[in-house]
């Protein structure tokens, strides 16, 4: 088990290194000069050059890279061109918003997907299965921003039950905070619920067709135990992959959702930073997203090892 996790950790470090190089280069391949973007349109070439030197763009690429990475490993992601403050501080301010929405969305997705996926498989071909199939198709097909707009229209504009957007941290009171977060979380959560439901359904069906299920039935194991213990735990392994990736995407900041619901999260920050060619901010955000993705995968691998004894060796 320890060996397995150690191996995964080494892979993780390699992936992060590769990703950092890639991020650095891709950001610099974007057309547009940040120094120009930061200046007024009547700036002289000398002023622009001075700005380039001030933000370190005159250095050779490799030197810029090592300055950035050297800082990153100590937690210093550089200064944002646009906000003129530390990137790490900006992210630290925005990250809790995205994490909060993502966790609530994930909880909603799981609360829907687990019973829906299991019951669809249990009653395959029956009315429940068809109902969930239709609902899931709608969930998959309907863009999140569209669902978000409709829900704002219904719950905020027509009914006036919930605020149309904005964010309140948990410290402002759980009721107020939840009122702000529930619409974006539902919009995101139902979309992921649909994918995970379909995934869970098909892996449940696969497991339910296996011989060890027939053997358990042959020896009088109650159907409920067969579904929730024998089949579910085996079906969870492939489903976790889908769920893990979904969570990665959620954390990467659902850009559109955050823009629509006016949430000050990472997605919106990324969107703004790309528009203004804010290299350090884009790099910092993308690096953080990659790190989160890799960490989630690492967490998934550890979870597989707990769920499936065959992986532990």
């Amino acid at each position: 088990m320890a060996n397995f996790l150690l191996g995964r950790a080494a892979t993780l470090a390699l992936v992060l290194f590769g990703a950092s190089v890639l991020i650095f280069l891709v950001v610099r391949a974007l057309p547009g000069d940040p120094a120009i973007a930061m200046m007024t349109s009547n700036a002289t070439p000398e002023e622009i050059q001075a700005m380039r030197e001030a933000i370190g763009l005159h250095l050779p690429l490799w030197q810029q890279y090592f300055t950035w990475v050297g800082g990153a490993v100590t937690g210093d992601l550089g200064r944002s061109f646009m906000y003129s403050t530390g990137v790490a501080g900006l992210i630290a301010e925005r990250f809790p918003v995205t994490l909060h929405v993502s966790l609530v969305a994930l909880a909603i997705a799981m609360a829907i997907a687990i019973p829906a996926g299991v019951l669809s498989a249990r009653y395959k071909g029956g009315p429940i299965d068809h109902l969930f199939r239709i609902v899931a198709m709608i969930g998959i097909s309907m863009p999140v921003f569209w669902q978000g707009l409709l829900s704002i229209l219904l719950f905020a504009v027509i009914l006036g039950w919930l605020p149309p957007g904005g964010y309140q941290p948990l410290s402002a009171g759980i009721g107020l905070s939840t009122a702000h977060i529930i619409l974006p979380a539902v919009a995101l959560g139902t979309a992921y619920a649909a994918t995970i439901t379909r995934m869970l359904r098909s892996s449940m069906l696969d497991v339910l067709g296996r011989e060890h299920i027939a053997v358990a039935r042959a020896h009088g194991v109650p159907e409920r135990t067969i579904i929730w213990t024998d089949a579910f735990r085996n079906a969870l392994i492939p489903t976790l992959t889908a769920a893990g990736f979904s969570f990665g995407y959620l954390l990467a900041g659902a850009v559109l959702t955050e823009v629509i619901f006016n949430l000050p999260g990472m997605g919106r920050l990324l969107y703004e930073s790309i528009l203004s060619r804010d290299y350090p901010l884009v790099q910092g955000l993308v690096l953080l997203n990659v790190t989160l993705f890799v960490l989630i995968n690492f967490g998934m691998d550890a979870l597989y090892a707990i769920l499936d004894p065959r992986i532990r060796r």
């Binding site: 011989e211 060890h212 027939a214 039935r217 042959a218 020896h219 009088g220 194991v221 769920l307 065959r310």
Partner: protein, 321 residues
């Protein structure tokens, strides 16, 4: 005459497939006395596995069984509700299957799988543990104690098959459905497992429905044999008599294609033609297209009938043979 344990009358199963409706069991009848071993033999696709599972209501979906009566100790299994049926599982009727790698839950330890079956049918944790340990030891599994905490993937194929048998026998059932229990094993392990199974069966006084396509396996441990082809039983009789003087042309063809182990015999005679398409069976005897002695009346239905004391065959010319 020993007590009648299990009697199947006119079992019919039905599935829908791409080629149309198929009936893996088309009016199958057989009976097993207490402590008796009945072999169900036939080629792949003859319907023997579906028939055996459906006979104890283990075929999924259950709606595939559309006709027949299944008397176990005088009680029709088809009339029992799910709860009553479940109470019979493991304690009265158990099952061993072909592929031990797929038949054990990969994420549960051997011990947990054994204990829970024992506990489901009454008994404490410590009783379950004791029963599992003594059975594994009885199955000649070395270091049984430590095997209990092993996962299936940590055991060899032969070891897994022993565990699977232990799982079936832990509640001392009176009927075991053994669905090709040794097919996935190599020959030496097969012989060992068969001998062990037979020994335990005698000890428990357990009856067995042994499904196999392997006549030498059948010959070794069965009291009687039923030969199945295209969803029907073609011939039935005591093992020795049936194997030495088969009455149905299909049984004869099947016996002729068994290798005897000497090269001097020349090439093995294969049964000419192909197994029939189950979705498009001709009227009458399903073997007629491949039968060397087929005649006009073979297109009429020929039910399984008594041809000699204890022997039945479904062929017009069974007596002539």
């Amino acid at each position: 005459m020993p007590e009648m344990l299990f009697e199947v009358r006119d079992l019919v199963t039905r599935f829908r497939s791409e080629g149309g409706e198929i009936r893996p069991s088309r009016g199958v009848s057989f009976h097993i006395a207490a402590g008796e071993v009945l072999g169900l033999v036939g080629e792949s696709g003859s319907g023997k596995s579906v028939t055996a599972r459906a006979s104890v209501r283990l075929q999924q979906p259950e709606s595939a069984t559309i006709g027949g009566e299944l008397f176990f100790r005088g009680q029709d299994l088809r009339k029992l509700d799910a709860e009553a049926l479940r109470a019979l599982r493991a304690k009265q009727i158990a099952m061993v299957v072909q592929d031990p790698a797929a038949a054990l839950n990969p994420v549960m330890t051997i011990g947990d799988q054994l204990f829970r079956i024992h506990r489901l049918h009454g008994g404490s944790e410590s009783e379950a543990r004791a029963a599992a340990l003594s059975l594994l030891t009885r199955m000649r599994i070395a270091e049984a104690e430590s095997r209990l905490s092993a996962y299936p993937h940590q055991l060899s194929g032969g070891m897994r098959q022993r565990v699977l048998i232990a799982l079936a026998l832990i509640c001392r059932p009176s009927l075991l459905i053994a669905d090709e229990p040794t097919t996935a094993l190599d020959v030496t392990v097969e012989a060992e497992i068969l001998a062990l199974l037979d020994e335990l069966r005698r000890e428990l006084g357990m009856a067995m429905l042994m499904i196999s396509h392997n006549l030498s396996v059948i010959g070794r441990i069965c009291d009687r044999v039923a030969v199945m082809y295209a969803g029907r039983i073609m011939e039935e009789g005591p093992t020795q008599a049936l194997l030495t003087s088969p009455r149905h042309p299909y049984t004869r063809a099947l016996l002729a294609s068994v290798p005897r182990g000497t090269k001097a015999d020349g090439p093995l005679p294969a049964i000419p033609g192909e197994p029939p398409d189950l979705a498009r069976l001709p009227p009458g005897c399903p073997f007629q297209a491949r039968c060397p002695g087929a005649e006009a009346r073979c297109t009429e239905d020929q039910p399984l009938r008594d041809i000699a004391p204890g022997r039945k065959a479904a062929c017009w010319r069974a007596e002539a043979a």
